[in-house]
């Protein structure tokens, strides 16, 4: 009975199917809002599902001379990571007592799986543009991970030095969300930009820059493998704002989480549509110098209890 419940939670409810369906719906919101900003009509609501279904039923081509195992491992890694992340986020928010020591570190590693999958897949597909995209993805991953980790250190400090995710959520229920303080606002700004880079949305869509390197690491993917990449991206669009709410804005176990979530999504989409793309060296400088210093200031302020 227990194993059935575990499988249900990983595959159906907070896990794969639920977060994929919600995430694909959010990609429709993204496309529709983008279209309205361009003064266009935009696609109908079922568009992401039609895309996904079409890709699932199309032919999958494996490029000649590429490693078949690695070519399919790339998409799967990110999907598995995001499914586990969905289960962890939901269980830590609704049953914070079930948290284990160090699960925030597990979450950091799970968030690293999609970029690693993209790097593996891009390098395995034996295409020069895909390898350029994979190397850019790697650089960008190292760029945004530094401020991201400093912000997580700030949050751990504010939660009284506990590295349990449940304790972070509980501490916010007791003393109010971490966002409502100076260091909390700094942390929110930094982590919102890191989330934008993790989603590889426009100011930081350097790895897959459509106008320069076509689709970057995805260029050789077709059919099912491309569908898995798309659905992983959609799940990240659902889970990363939830992660942001649960570490900074008091968790999502109440109805107030829905307006908070929509506000974050709208912010992300507006940022996506009002910015030009950075070069990879500009992005590296922005994350390491600009946001790095800002996040260290936030860490020092949090140390003094501000």
């Amino acid at each position: 009975m227990n194993i059935v419940r575990i499988l249900f939670s990983y595959i159906i409810f907070p896990g794969f199917i639920f977060s994929a369906v919600v995430g694909l719906f959010l990609t429709w919101i993204d496309r529709k809002v983008t279209a309205r900003i361009h003064w266009r009509v935009g696609p109908p609501w079922f568009q992401p599902y039609a895309d996904f279904l079409k890709l699932l039923l199309k032919e999958t081509i494996i490029p000649e001379g590429s490693s078949k195992t690695l070519f399919f491992l790339g998409p799967l890694l990110g999907l598995v990571g995001m499914s586990i992340l969905a289960v962890m986020l939901f269980s830590m928010n609704f049953y914070p007592a079930g948290s284990f020591v160090g699960d925030i570190i597990v979450i950091i590693y799970l968030l690293a799986l999609p970029p690693i999958g993209i790097i593996i897949g891009g390098s395995a597909s034996k295409n020069p543009l895909a390898s350029v995209g994979a190397s850019r993805e790697m650089t960008q991953y190292f760029a945004y991970e530094l401020p991201f980790l400093i912000v997580l250190a700030t949050i751990i400090l504010k939660a009284g030095g506990s590295i349990k995710f449940g304790d972070i959520v509980l501490a916010q229920q007791v003393q109010g969300p971490f966002l409502y303080s100076i260091s909390g606002v700094i942390a929110a700004v930094v982590i919102l930009l890191c989330v934008q880079a993790k989603l590889s949305f426009v100011p930081f869509d350097i790895p897959e820059a459509e106008q320069e390197i076509m689709a970057g690491p995805y260029i050789e993917y077709s059919g099912v493998a491309l569908a898995i990449y798309k659905v992983t991206r959609a799940m990240m669009l659902f889970l990363l704002p939830l992660f942001l709410i649960s570490i900074l804005w008091g968790g999502f176990a109440d109805w107030w989480a829905i307006p908070k979530f929509l506000l974050i999504i709208v912010l992300i989409v507006l940022m996506k549509n009002t910015n030009p793309r950075l070069r990879i060296d500009q992005a590296l400088k922005f994350f390491w110098v600009g946001l790095g210093i800002l996040s260290i200031i936030g860490l020092v302020l949090a140390f003094y209890g501000l």
Binding site: A50, D51, K54, K58, S222
Partner: protein, 138 residues
């Protein structure tokens, strides 16, 4: 919805633009389709950068000895099922380049073209109509 494969293909045809040595007029008219005035994304049509992602190839221009192998290569790289849409009078026959020394002949000798859209260049409205006709025929 009876045939999910066909439904998916009809509702989200992603197109790849194969500019086979055209004079650039048809290419610019294709780009017009993406602008807010015509907005083909409301039919789910997206211009993609890689033939691996494409469901339909938009070919423009006259085939010659140099680009014939490349066009065929792009067609082979596209995952099937895929549509081929010929845009412009050049794809219907060899147009005014008929007696040129390096023109190898019309497209339908080499590729299965699903719909021809004549015009030099065709208007964006007629391209949308052509794509709709091609999808209805499926």
């Amino acid at each position: 919805m009876a045939n999910p494969r066909l439904w998916g293909l009809k509702k989200s045809p992603w197109v790849f633009h194969v500019a086979a040595a055209s004079c650039n007029n048809c290419d610019i008219e294709i780009l017009d389709l993406l602008t807010p005035r015509w907005d083909i994304e409301r039919f789910g049509i997206v211009l993609v950068g890689s033939p691996r992602h494409a469901d339909a190839l938009l070919v423009t221009g006259v085939l010659n000895r140099k680009n014939l192998p490349r066009v065929l290569r792009v067609y082979e790289q596209t995952p099937k099922p895929c549509l081929v849409i010929g845009i412009g009078t050049c794809t219907c026959h060899t147009h005014m380049f008929e007696s040129s020394y390096n023109v190898v002949g019309p497209y339908d000798k080499y590729l299965p073209i699903d719909v021809y859209i004549p015009g030099c260049p065709p208007k964006p409205e007629s391209m949308i109509m052509g794509v709709v006709k091609a999808l209805k025929r499926l």
